[in-house]
């Protein structure tokens, strides 16, 4: 397979989460991921898009979703032109303690890390946010999910 690109631009509203999941899971199935991996990819994308809808914009704007396929992996980039956030602050949170305090929210980003093989958040507060996540077709044993270590 050569490098292939699929792009979806879609209004940022929760009504569209289903369509986004369908889109992503069809492509993931098509390229041969197991049902289990399809589910993980679908959920990770749902979380990232739900964040754009909830946090990025004051009103309905646009979610930009790009899927790139090469011979060894599926890469998904979800971006918005919204308010952004301090990535380090969120990522350094200890999820166990956080949960034990029964705080509402804060689960999505943790989940994305747990579900995908590689995850990278970039955000410029006030300007934009971009999440890049990767799932390999074959895990070579050495590649370990960073959030599970």
């Amino acid at each position: 397979m050569n490098k292939e690109k699929y792009q979806l631009k879609i209004p940022s509203k929760t009504d569209n989460l289903e369509l986004i999941r369908t889109f992503v899971s069809r492509i993931s199935e098509m390229v041969g991921f197991t049902d289990d991996d399809v589910y993980k990819i679908e959920l990770a994308v749902d979380e990232a898009c739900a964040n754009v809808i909830k946090h990025a914009y004051k009103k309905e704007e646009e979610i930009n979703l790009v899927i790139e396929l090469d011979y060894k992996k599926l890469t998904i980039i979800i971006s918005d032109q919204g308010i952004g956030f301090d990535v380090n602050k969120i990522l350094n949170r200890d999820i166990k303690n956080y949960l034990a305090q029964m705080k509402v929210g804060g689960l999505g980003i943790h989940l994305i890390h747990a579900l995908m093989d590689e995850v990278e958040f970039r955000s410029e507060p006030g300007r934009k946010t971009e999440v890049k996540m990767v799932k390999y077709f074959v895990k070579d044993g050495k590649i370990k999910k960073s959030s599970e270590s």
Binding site: D46, L99, G105, L107, G108, H110, A114
Partner: protein, 115 residues
């Protein structure tokens, strides 16, 4: 199209919610309203049966997080039962099993409430 439904059954003091379909950021408010209704009526013993739930995202888990403190401080609890393995994994990944009673069968959960 995908959808989400909640139905309700009362068993003694326990309110059982049956959730069905797809629970995401779009449909979570439906479940939230349902639980809010129970809480408003002073019903704090809540069992959520996941038998027919096909999908959950963190917005769904967030609903339970939003109520649990208040409900427990009123002597009640939210217990969860009958999750399929895909759904359970999401709860598990986020460490919920240490914070919530998650039971295989509805009956076990009912017993646990009454013990």
């Amino acid at each position: 199209m995908e959808s989400f439904e909640v139905s309700k059954r009362v068993e003694g003091k326990i309110n059982i919610l049956y959730i069905k379909g797809y629970l995401d950021a779009h449909t979570a408010p439906m479940l939230e309203d349902e639980i809010q209704g129970l809480v408003d009526n002073g019903e704090f013993q809540i069992l959520v049966n996941f038998k027919d739930l096909l999908y959950i995202s963190s917005a769904g888990l967030g609903v339970f997080m939003g109520f649990i403190e208040n409900i427990r401080s009123n002597g009640g609890d939210i217990k969860l039962s009958n999750m399929n393995s895909k759904i359970f994994r999401v709860f598990d990944l986020l460490g919920f099993p240490t914070l919530y009673d998650i039971l295989e069968e509805e009956q076990e959960a009912l017993t646990k409430f009454n013990s």
